[in-house]
Subunit: 479 residues, 2 copies
Amino acid sequence: MAKATEFVKEIADIHEDFPQWYTDVVRKTQLVDYGPVKGTMVMRPYGYAVWENIQKELDARIKATGHENVYLPLLIPYSFLMREAEHVEGFAPEVALVTHVGENELPEKLVVRPTSETVFCDMFSKWVQSYRDLPMLVNQWANVIRWEKTTRPFLRTSEFLWQEGHTLHESREEAEEETIKMLRVYEEFAKNVLAIPMLTGRKSEKEKFAGAQATYSIEAMMLDGKSLQAGTTHYLAQNFSEPFNIRFLDKDGTLKYPYQTSWGVSTRLIGAVIMAHGDERGLKLPPFVAPIQIALIPVAMHKPGVLEKAEELCAALKAAGLRVKLDATDNSPGWKYNEYEMKGVPVRLELGPRDIENGVVTVARRDKAGEKFTLPLEGLADSLGTLLREIHENMYAIALAFRDSHIRTVHTMDELGQAVQSNNFALSMWCGDRACEDKIKETYQATSRNMPFDQSPVGDTCVCCGKKAKHKIYWGRAY
Amino acid sequence: MAKATEFVKEIADIHEDFPQWYTDVVRKTQLVDYGPVKGTMVMRPYGYAVWENIQKELDARIKATGHENVYLPLLIPYSFLMREAEHVEGFAPEVALVTHVGENELPEKLVVRPTSETVFCDMFSKWVQSYRDLPMLVNQWANVIRWEKTTRPFLRTSEFLWQEGHTLHESREEAEEETIKMLRVYEEFAKNVLAIPMLTGRKSEKEKFAGAQATYSIEAMMLDGKSLQAGTTHYLAQNFSEPFNIRFLDKDGTLKYPYQTSWGVSTRLIGAVIMAHGDERGLKLPPFVAPIQIALIPVAMHKPGVLEKAEELCAALKAAGLRVKLDATDNSPGWKYNEYEMKGVPVRLELGPRDIENGVVTVARRDKAGEKFTLPLEGLADSLGTLLREIHENMYAIALAFRDSHIRTVHTMDELGQAVQSNNFALSMWCGDRACEDKIKETYQATSRNMPFDQSPVGDTCVCCGKKAKHKIYWGRAY
């Protein structure tokens, strides 16, 4: 939690310098600090608690869909990475290599995992023998390393935390179904926990995962109109099961290669939360991930009975399962109001002698600036529970309205350029050629985001080359 | 979960070959598998679920004592390790070094963390300015790498998972108090969650942590009479705060170095659970960490109504918060009984047509072989909750009686030798000299375990050299 000696109020203007606003907010609210090795981050208590809340909610969903957690080794033989051609091409330049232990050189250099596909495959080749062993549905919570030249806390760091699900199936259909099922799990989680609406769809060939047959993503719109790819699911077909020789004896007595999927979300989600919901006063955290849901500020704290009543109330709310922080420090109430607003705490309660006399508490919502009202102390835990759900719904509605008002359907390159240059996503038809993707990126620094499942056309021809269109697709500048 | 195709029944005789019994049990119950890099392990769903239960229980205790979780980077600049002289000596030979990213050599080689003291200190030097910032009470759940020549799953692996607490305090007294408080937290956790009694006390100078002023441990007795150091807490004094220049402005206006502690337990605890409680039939898991607390086996499964009733019962018990597995596979009930016994499931329920007719279920306890009884279906969740607590108590009592009957108070080297050679701990007086520790190790392969807080003497002279004794201390062979 913020200590008075460390606390600095100023953050850059969100409308004038969004990147600086982000950097100020993540550091000044003590979510994060820079690690000693370039490109690494330290997740401080306030930031790590957001991740713990994300983990808890998502882990329950991963288990409810039949997956079990495992833990595989951090270090991977270099030769493993080489087995799948696209995979090595995708990851080789950015992998950290362990070459020595103490003074001694290792016989084979080891890769610090950038993702665990290859180790999962090696284990699967031992664990799977028969169709009875399928489906294999496992997940891992772990740290991974991908060396990055330009880094930003949560968004792009050399080390990040994530979960990676890995599954094997008898049939292509079943694996494809799993790929979409987990995409839907991510979408539902983003909506109901992070209060972020997601565009779901398939990535282009250019943007897919190194080694996948097909990659799907959830894409969120940030307040600057840029897209953040917040999670991906991959249909790997037999691209890994063949080189890793994973085979199962099918019911018909023949040996077959199973069909595979993988899917993951990372600490990047915290970046998404910050940039989907913040405002000029700082963070605005959705109630279900907020480390502090309710800041309780005693007013005229030194008057008899105020602090005692505040402590009693705090204990009662905690006992009801709410995440409450009572701030009884010597700082002024006004200073505290600013602090918890900057930290994005959804609800502030002010409790003074008059409130106590009237049997109420004064309530301020972070999502509705300036609005104050009172709630009876009796039944307060219940009414705050309801209020937190309301705040969640309101935050989602605001984010959805913002996003939907920033999508432009476009038919020409000019329209596409105008859309993305004025902080919108562009929705267009596309011929499916890489050359058009490259040209759009070169001209407008916009990339293809994904192809929605609803492919009802918005035209007949590619926005770029004018040839016959194959797909409807979103374009945007992206993190 | 075990699949029929993979399941092999035979495990070595626990009385004839304990090490082989251990190896068989951890692999055949699918707790663990070997990773592709020598000395690493893969935690399979059944093993990782034990760790998840340990984490959940211990994390609640760490938070209840005022600590917050953080996450620090995996990679540490090599220079950091060099700053504390004993620390580098202790860890330098076994650290994995990252020297390259892709094709490029790094300007400074990086250490894959063997422990995070040095990174915590670097961050603390930025975060702490005033006495108001103290105490600093943080904890991290993470993976660490310490290269090992001889490895065994859970007990000694090149990578392991652990938690490491790191705290800073204004005064020596407060830091020492924290060191003992967390030792007590570990002891209580081991008793009430793992059902393992611990010997708590201070380690000798020889056995303490590299960089600590004093190290304390919890030591458990395994079924072969050997000791397993299951957790440690360290009083670091100012040994790290000085070289890392962590200073705070005290109330008196002067800059001071804070006093520091660290403490940790690891996936080694799972090894302790296995070797403190197993028997000739396999694992025996304490109810509060068992991934499956109750195995529900339908008998005469294909008679009408049996499977339906079993499914209904399973759902009701799960809804009551119990971890139940209904095994409706085609394997025979006898095969299933053996399987869940080997896997150490605390309670087995058998549900057949006659049970259903009588409104009961047949119950077998893993901790009391051969004993069977019935429980009414009505109120079953409650009676099983009570039964699981009883099983926990019984397992603790058995482990305590076993340990206490395997401690010998000794006064001579011969007695010490006889004690440890016949699978006991030896309790003796000791002069405090390293030479005597070395001699005892050389002669009997026994090491000092710890010096209990109750130092009421059992003699006047050192068990080894016969000089005046300073300490009462436990000796044993150890993992």
